[in-house]
């Protein structure tokens, strides 16, 4: 049975009409002991039918450790959205519910080069000297979450120093503990710094500045 129904396929096809350059979805999966690996793979196969500029590359997480290393993948299912280069845009867990739009937004951004980062934001990121890793924890039913994910992915797209992950928390219950997630969205900066809610760009930048200063 198809995972995307007809109306979603139609809306997706329409949304992706604006694609300009090819986008490669690099999937890391595994046959057993992975919740939502199978569904995520099927989702991407079906997504592929909506636009010719989309490509899919599948890696087995266990046996293909070189590729996992190259893309910095540490849990599955994982998707890297790659264009002319790898911008560090990742999705861990299935991008379902409201997060499906975050996946489409990442694809469109990588394909068209269009983002909504402000002048001030660009200036701040141009000045970054150290690497910044953003993990945005989400639930597929959370309406505020895509905003945080899309912003993090835009920052990763713009800056070579920034990598950004969407992490669908229900697929990784142990991370709920590790990062003490009790509400979503929650953004974790370089493992140690936290930001609650869908914060505006300036606030995220300020938190990054703090994280770097005190690192």
């Amino acid at each position: 049975m198809a995972i995307l129904d007809e109306s979603v396929i139609k809306d997706t096809t329409k949304a992706l009409l604006n694609m300009v350059k090819e986008v490669r979805l690099v999937l890391f999966t595994q046959g057993v002991e992975c919740s939502y690996c199978k569904e995520t793979h099927q989702l991407l196969e079906e997504l592929l039918t909506t636009n010719k500029l989309l490509g899919l590359e599948v890696h087995q997480f266990e046996s293909d450790s070189d590729a996992a290393k190259k893309y910095g993948i540490d849990k599955i299912p994982a998707i890297a959205v790659v264009g002319e280069k790898d911008y560090g845009i990742r999705f861990y867990g299935i991008p379902a519910g409201y997060e499906f739009s975050s996946l489409l937004a990442a694809i469109l951004m990588v394909s068209t080069g269009k983002h909504k980062i402000t002048e001030a934001g660009m200036k701040f990121m141009d000045g970054l000297k150290k690497p910044v890793h953003l993990q945005v924890f989400v639930m597929p039913t959370c309406p505020y979450c895509p905003k945080a994910v899309m912003l993090a992915h835009q920052m990763a797209y713009f800056s070579d120093k920034i990598t950004a992950d969407m992490v669908e928390i229900s697929g990784f219950p142990h991370l709920t503990q590790k990062y003490s997630v009790q509400g979503v969205p929650r953004t974790v900066i370089n493992e140690k710094w936290y930001l609650e809610g869908a914060a505006p760009e300036a606030m995220v930048m300020k938190k990054i500045e703090e994280a770097i200063k005190h690192a």
């Binding site: 379902a96 909504k116 309406p143 505020y144 895509p146 009790q182 509400g183 979503v184």
Partner: protein
């Protein structure tokens, strides 16, 4: 079951003057958008969240919207409203309106990304959850204190939570949280609940939910283990503690009208309108929860939106404009 939601902005053109700009894409705005698009008004909706639906997206089931004897998912109802409006040509941009200039004939709506122009404006920015304003709340907001059950309810499997409030939202959302949590204490400051009787009956029949009346929360003492909510009985004045894993607050709403202050007449923050949804500024209309009125529901919001569209259509038809 998995579902997938597609919400991406249209490629609207900021160089044209729209007939109508709708600020806020909840049920009121979406209904106005549907009607306006059918009147063939060139209409742009600007929504700050990455999807339309407003408060509908923060609740699971809607049981009192006519036409759905089986409860309908809030998120689905919202998406269907959007699709219906788009079918007739409504354009939607996902940007946050930070400033407006409502006095001139051609009105301006300013976001971080663009300046949009229109001959008329509908304000349907709705409301946001009200905070209690007690110690510990802000500090633990998103870290144990939540305002959205569909977002954070699943974090409490087999846990104990407090729900603050006594209206429909508190009761409905408690029933949702009860799917995950083992124990829920609803804390209400009065001895009577404002929720509809059907909801009160359902909650009373749920063995997981306990009702605490005549009680206010004075502090979220979440710094230590175990976490405690500090309570005070309003009749006896006595304080007590309740050990919980987290808390949800549903004590009403505050209108999203900050950006209109000084340009429109407001009453306790809500926009003052006449029965035709005119605000104090010509060419500017308001609909839904953001209006000063008594009942704030999906059914009333869509009614407001429909009538406002009709009046906007008539207003724009005026040859002297």
């Amino acid at each position: 079951m998995l579902n997938f939601s597609v919400n991406l902005g249209s490629d609207a053109d900021s160089s044209i003057v729209y007939d109508l700009i709708i600020i806020g894409g909840g049920p009121a705005g979406l209904t106005c958008g549907l009607y306006a698009a059918r009147y063939k008004l060139r209409t742009l909706m600007i929504e700050k969240a990455p999807m339309t639906g407003g408060q509908l997206t923060t609740t699971e089931w809607v049981e009192n919207y006519p036409g759905f004897p089986e409860p309908v998912l809030g998120a689905k109802l919202a998406k269907d409203m959007e699709n219906q409006a788009k079918l007739f040509g409504l354009e939607i941009e996902y940007e946050d309106v930070i400033k407006v200039d409502l006095a001139p004939k051609i009105k301006e709506v300013i976001t971080a990304e663009n300046t949009w122009k229109a001959r008329s404006i509908l304000i349907s920015t709705g409301s946001s959850p009200r905070m209690l304003g007690v110690p510990g709340e802000q500090e633990f907001s998103g870290k144990g204190v939540s305002y959205c059950a569909t977002c954070d309810g699943p974090f409490y499997p087999d846990k104990t939570v407090a729900v603050v409030g006594g209206g429909n939202s508190a009761f409905e959302e408690s029933l949702f949280i009860a799917k995950y949590a083992a124990k829920i204490h609803i804390i209400h400051m009065l001895d009577k609940f404002q929720a509809d009787q059907v909801l009160i009956d359902k909650v009373k029949a749920n063995p997981k939910i306990e009702l605490i009346t005549n009680t206010v929360v004075t502090e979220f003492d979440f710094d230590q283990d175990p976490r405690k909510v500090i309570l005070k009985n309003t009749e006896t004045g006595k304080s007590s503690e309740l050990v919980v894993d987290g808390a949800f607050v549903f004590i009403g709403a505050i209108p999203n009208t900050k950006i209109f202050e000084g340009q429109l007449d407001l009453d306790h923050g809500y926009i003052v309108t006449d029965q035709d949804h005119n605000t104090s500024q010509e060419g500017v209309f308001a609909a839904g929860d953001v209006e000063a009125k008594e009942l704030r529901q999906v059914a009333t919001a869509v009614g407001d939106g429909a009538l406002a569209a009709y009046k906007i259509h008539k207003y724009l038809d005026n040859p002297e404009l």
